[in-house]
Amino acid sequence: MNTEYGIEKRLRELNKDLHERYRNCVTVAGQILGRYENYFPDFTDHTLLHTLDILDLCNRLIGEQITLLTDDDLYVLMMGALFHDVGMGVSYSDFEEFGRVLKIPIPANDEERAWAVRDYHQELSGLYLKKYWRMFDLPNERYAHAVIQVCRGHRKTDLMDEAGYPVQYEVEQGKTVYLPYLAALLCLADELDISTDRNISFMYDVEKMPSARDRREFRKHMAIHGLELEPEKVVVRAWSMDQEIRDGVEEVCAKLKDKLLMCRRVAAQRSPFTISQEDVELIWEVGV
């Protein structure tokens, strides 16, 4: 994992105050995200490590276009990366409260609740920030809304929607952020964080996972052991002898390609930025 986070360095250079506000949230977000592990020990990693992966991937997707992003763009993106999965770690009482807003059917048991949290977590993250944004020292409610939209946009949200994602959203008078591009970056980076690095194998005993769906999800991730961002394509390297897992990895790559094309389209049509990669290549390795 690359630890040279250009976007964080750039934010520090451009705006020390916003950088400090972000830094103050890192430890706290880590603590909140850590709670999710207690609730769902068998789910794929959504902790601070995943957030760091996402920042690294955003950094690489942005590349030299970083000079076109303002301090506000960088702050909103980084806060979005930090909090996009925070919905996975909401308390039981907040889940009940947010569940009523989202009209989530009341789960019959812990497993159903776990899947409801996973399925709706982008909206839960949004509602969490809407309720608690002040405690994270966001400069004002409009910044909070921008971060919320970036968080929501990482899954199942229409980034072409002009009302929800105006091309330039004003966070302060005369200061705007490229909301659709920032959300597309986070959405794509989240989807790209699929390789085995995300789930350190010794931390999980796949065979003891109670749910067949969990076991299958994990095996797919464990089969993917490399992901490279080339200028024109994403290369996924995988290995498995099990046909069911191979089929699963093919599905993952097809989904990744759909996301890539959607995010490319959002960047091209709704921002002055580009996402250069246009294809996903799956390479099956032999004898790994």
Binding site: V28, Q31, F136
Partner: protein, 100 residues
């Protein structure tokens, strides 16, 4: 924000008055930086703390780390708003917070 420190042997009591957020948190950090040497028990009196944000929590987490090595840290007197922040952020899981 005001910080009142009282040292009694190896016990340091720190009363924080006002709001602990992005502007004031560095002040608390500065106040504590040179005061923790030889302290085995650190007690924060938050009975007059009105509000705390992530900036304040960052200072507390960092002090907690130091106190884990040399003794213990206890938080007392937090009001409902401050307690909510501790609960929502999972701070209650890693700090000793005495409820009123």
């Amino acid at each position: 924000m005001q910080v009142v420190k009282t040292l009694n042997g190896d016990e340091l009591k720190v009363q924080v008055i006002g709001r602990l957020e992005t502007v004031t948190a560095p002040m608390l950090d500065g106040e504590l930086k040179d005061s923790l040497e030889g302290v085995a028990t650190l007690i924060f009196d938050f009975s007059q703390l009105e509000y705390i944000s992530s900036a304040g929590l960052r200072v507390l987490f960092s002090v907690q780390k130091i106190m884990n090595r040399q003794g213990k840290m206890i938080i007392r007197g937090a009001n409902e708003d401050v307690m909510e922040v501790f609960e929502v952020t999972g701070s209650v899981d890693i700090m000793t917070i005495e409820k009123n």
